[in-house]
Structures are given as C-alpha cells and as structure tokens.
C-alpha cells in the first residue's frame, strides 16, 4: 500500500449532512481518493477512513463540530484502491442555503513533522 502525497495546491473539500453523509465532494477529493463524484455523494464520510486511525480521533472530531467549534487534526485516509494519504484537516459546522445544518471539511498538505507527530499520537491512543 503506497502513500499518495498531496502537493501545496491540493485542496480537498467536502460537505456532509448532519449524519455525516457526503452531499458534495470537490475534484481534488476525487483525484486523491480515486473515486468519481457520483460514487462519493450519498456515501458516509467514513468511506475514506483508514484503519490506522483511532476511533477516539473521530469521536473528538464529531463532538467538536457538533458543539459548533472548528476541529483541526492530522488524518490518515485510504483511497479506493487501498492506498493511503495524510491530510491536515479543518472541519467545521455551517448551514446551507435552506438553513439546514451541514459540516464542511477542508484538507491541505500536512508537514512531515505533523505526520510524524500524528503517528506517535495515534500509537498511544490505540
């Protein structure tokens, strides 16, 4: 399983409903994760969750955004073919044009030290 590296211009953006179902994914998301847009829309966001990630991390993420806060973290995701990629993620709550709650996540390239720190952190959490 090889690592897919994001470059400096990569912007992975996605939108989910309150339950974490993907309502929109941008082109970089599709490019990096190896999915077509229609394959992602309608799926739960944990489609790209990597097994190496501790459940606690996501618990923290959901608790944070549900309480109306911005969540920041380094996340390891898996692609459709089983490869993986690291992201520096910012997830936050928002409302859509109809006033309904939604969650948005913007992911950019993490630094090497961010990745190594995360690996250490998640080792301890597991």
């Amino acid at each position: 399983m090889k690592e897919i590296k994001l470059d400096k211009n990569t912007m992975i953006v996605s939108e989910t409903d309150e339950k974490g179902i993907i309502t929109y994914a941008n082109s970089d998301f599709c490019l990096i994760a190896g999915y077509e847009k229609y394959e992602l829309i309608g799926q739960h966001h944990n489609l790209v969750r990597h097994l190496d990630m501790p459940k606690a991390a996501f618990k923290d993420l959901w608790q944070t955004v549900q309480s109306g806060q911005i969540w920041k973290g380094i996340v390891k995701n898996k692609t459709k073919s089983g490869d993986f990629y690291w992201v520096n993620a910012t997830a936050y709550p928002s409302i859509d044009a109809n006033g309904k709650k939604r969650y948005i996540s913007v992911r950019v390239r993490p630094t090497n030290s961010e990745i190594s720190n995360a690996i250490e952190l998640y080792k301890n959490l597991k």
């Binding site: 953006v13 911005i70 910012t90 936050y92 928002s94 859509d96 948005i104 996540s105 913007v106 950019v108």
Partner: protein, 414 residues
C-alpha cells in the same frame, strides 16, 4: 545576564522565523511557547503570540468562508445553483466576495427556477407565459432566455395555425362525412334497384324467348295450314269439276228419263189397250187386267219427280261446291295474310330479343359500375370518417393547449 539576553533575542527571532514559514504556507499552524526570561522580551513574545493567535484565528475564519466558496463554485460548475456561503469572515473583502457570490447564486437560482416553471408549463402544453429575461442585463443568459421566449412565440404561432386548420378541417370533414353517408346510402339503393331491373330484364328476356318459340311454332302451323288450305282448294276445285260432271250426267240422266217417260207413256197406252182387251176377254182377261193396271201404275211420274229431286240436289251440290271454292280462295288469302303477319311478328320479336339482350348487357354493365361505385362510396365514407376522427384529434389536442389568441380563433371559426 548577557547570555540570557542573547537567548531571549534568539527565541524572539525563532518565533519570527516560524511566523514567516506560516505566512509562506510552509507550515499549517504555530504552537506558541514561552521561551524568554527578561521582562522586556516576555512583553515582545507576548505581543508576538497575540499577533500569531489573531492571524490563526482570522485564517481559520477565512478558511471556513474559503471552503464554502470552493464548494459553491465547484457546485455551480456541476450545475447546482442553490448553494449559499453562510460562514462569515472578519475580512470585509472576503465577505464582499461571499456576498457577491451569494447574489449570483440567488439570481441564477431564481431565474433558472423561473425558466423551469415556465418550461414545465410548456411541457403541460400551456404556452401563455414567458420567462422574465429582464433579470439579466445582457449576455448569454439573457440571450438564452430571450431565445426560449421567441421559441414560445413560434410555438404559439404553430399551435394557433394547427388549431385554425383543425377547426376548418373538422367542419369540412363533418360535412364530407354526412355527404359520403348519403352517397353511400343512395349508391346502395341504386345497386339494389339495378339488381331488380337486371332480374326483370332476365325475366323479360326469358318471356321474349318463349314468345319467339311460340311465334316460330305459329309460323310452322301457319305454313302447314297454308299448305293444307291449298290442298283443300285443289280438292274443292276437283269437287267442283266432279259436280259439273255430275250435273252433266244428271242432265244426261234427265234426257234418258224423258225417253223413259215417253216409253212409260206408250207403255201406259199399251197397258190401257191391254186392259181394254182384258175386259173383252172376260173372266180370262181378269188377271191380265190387274197386270195392265200395275203397268199403268208404273207411270214415269214418280221417276220424273225423283229425277226432279235429283236435279235439284245436284244443282244444290254444285252451288255449295262453287261457294266452297270461293270460300277457299278467301281462306287462302286470309291465311296468307296471317302467315305474313306472323312473319312480321317473328321478325320484330327477333329484333326485340336482340334489343332486350342489348338492354340486358347494358344493365349488367351499369350493375357492375353501380356496384363498384357503391364500393367506392363506402371507401369514401370510411376515409371521410377517418378524416373526421383525425380532425377531431387535432382539435382536441389543440383544445388541451393553452395559448394566446385561442379563444379568438374559436370565436372566429364557430
């Protein structure tokens, strides 16, 4: 003391380096740590941390707006116009961009929904309304909406024309159907009448043939009678001749009877003498006297009267034979006339038969034509009915539609 001052200075410079890396986007976040000792440097470090926090806070808020802008713009490019940027930044420039984008989304969404509503009306065959193209100042979208509106005008024109023509066709085809019904009925009646006529002609033809046979028989009989009467005339001529001969013979007989009468007279005288002689002879002459008396009784008077009767009857027979001969002559003349008349009748009956046969042929031809006309009339009726249905469908489908000028067309054509 000097060393610690140097360390503080380095710590401040390191913090600035990190800040520079953050600004250059080489790192994603800064974790503030207190590394200075002196009060002065602590103050600088504190101010630096405050700036870093402010920057990171602003960046986070901006990132929220950026994230939504990125999503909304990509959604638009995928065809979704109903998004809205709801997060707010502290940066008014970013907020203005978000507001402009939101205005754009709203405007696009509203106009596209308006267009969709109108197109849905068109889909339901309601062409009354137009899309509001005034929402755009110009450019492709305004042209697109105006293009749809001109399509609506074209459709209205077309639909009006269909409705007008449909109503005209309906009216005409209703008349055509009625007329073709009449045509079909009358041609069927004609067909029946011609068939009856044809049957009557066949009967007349049969009767004519029968008559002709009878006339032929009459002719044969007439000829036979003619021959027989000729024979009869010849026989009557012979009878006449025979009667002449009889008359002649009777005359001759009469002459002979005269001689007989003279002989009888002399015989009478002789018998008288005999009687006288017998009386003289007495008793002996008595018998002789009887004979003489009987001889005297044999006087030719009776013969004479008989001869008279004969002559009279012979004359009568001759008269009858003569008048018979004359009768035969009349009869033959009459028979000849009759035979000639029969010939005439036969000839004209033959001509009549030819005429009737020609009439029969003509009637048969008319019968065929009338039948084929009846079939055509039936086809015409079927087609007219079909046309009428089509026109009804055209009118019905036009009547289901809503378009400008519809009521005026109906009023004009009804």
């Amino acid at each position: 003391m000097f060393l610690s001052k140097k360390k503080d200075q380095k710590a401040i410079l390191d913090s600035l380096d990190i800040l520079e890396l953050y600004i250059k986007n080489d790192i994603n976040a800064i974790v503030n740590t207190k590394n200075t000792k002196s009060k002065y440097h602590k103050e600088i470090e504190k101010r630096l941390h405050s700036i870093v926090d402010l920057m990171q806070n602003t960046d986070d808020k901006n990132l929220m707006v950026y994230g939504e802008i990125m999503l909304a713009c990509e959604k638009i490019s995928d065809g979704y116009t109903n998004d809205k940027i709801t997060s707010v930044s502290d940066d008014n420039k970013i907020n203005y961009i978000a507001k402009s984008l939101n205005d754009m989304f709203q405007k696009l969404n509203k106009s596209i929904n308006n267009a969709l509503d109108i197109l849905n009306e068109y889909k339901g065959q309601n062409y009354l309304n137009k899309i509001d193209s005034s929402i755009f100042l110009g450019g492709g979208l305004k042209n697109l909406f105006e293009g749809i509106n001109s399509l609506q005008e074209k459709i209205t024109e077309q639909v009006s024309q269909n409705y007008t023509q449909g109503l005209q066709l309906q009216s005409q085809s209703t008349t055509l159907t009625a007329k073709s019904d009449e045509l079909s009925a009358s041609s069927q009646e004609q067909s029946v009448a011609i068939e009856q006529t044809s049957a009557a002609i066949v009967e007349i033809n049969a009767t004519m043939s029968n008559n002709l046979e009878h006339v032929a028989e009459m002719l044969v009989l007439g000829t036979k009678i003619q021959e027989e009467s000729k024979k009869g005339a010849l026989l009557s001529k012979d009878t006449n001749l025979a009667m002449d001969q009889i008359t002649e013979s009777t005359t001759k007989a009469f002459d002979s009877i005269n001689q007989i009468s003279q002989i009888a007279f002399q015989t009478n005288i002789l018998s008288l003498n005999a009687a006288v002689e017998a009386a003289t002879a007495g008793e002996a002459g008595k018998g002789f006297a009887v004979v003489a008396q009987e001889v005297r009784n044999l006087v030719a008077k009776e013969i004479e009267s008989l001869m008279n009767i004969l002559q009279e009857r012979t004359q009568k027979g001759k008269d009858i034979a003569t008048s018979m001969n004359l009768g035969y002559i009349d009869l033959i003349q009459d028979i000849n006339k009759t035979v000639s008349l029969i010939n005439h009748v036969s000839d004209s009956a033959k001509e009549q038969e030819i005429g009737v046969s020609q009439i029969s042929d003509a009637i048969n031809q008319i019968d065929q034509e009338v039948q084929s006309n009846a079939a055509i009339a039936y086809d015409v009726k079927t087609i007219a009915t079909g046309n009428n249905e089509v026109s009804n469908q055209i009118v019905n489908s036009s009547e289901k539609m809503k378009f400008i000028g519809k009521n005026e067309i109906y009023a004009k054509l009804n």
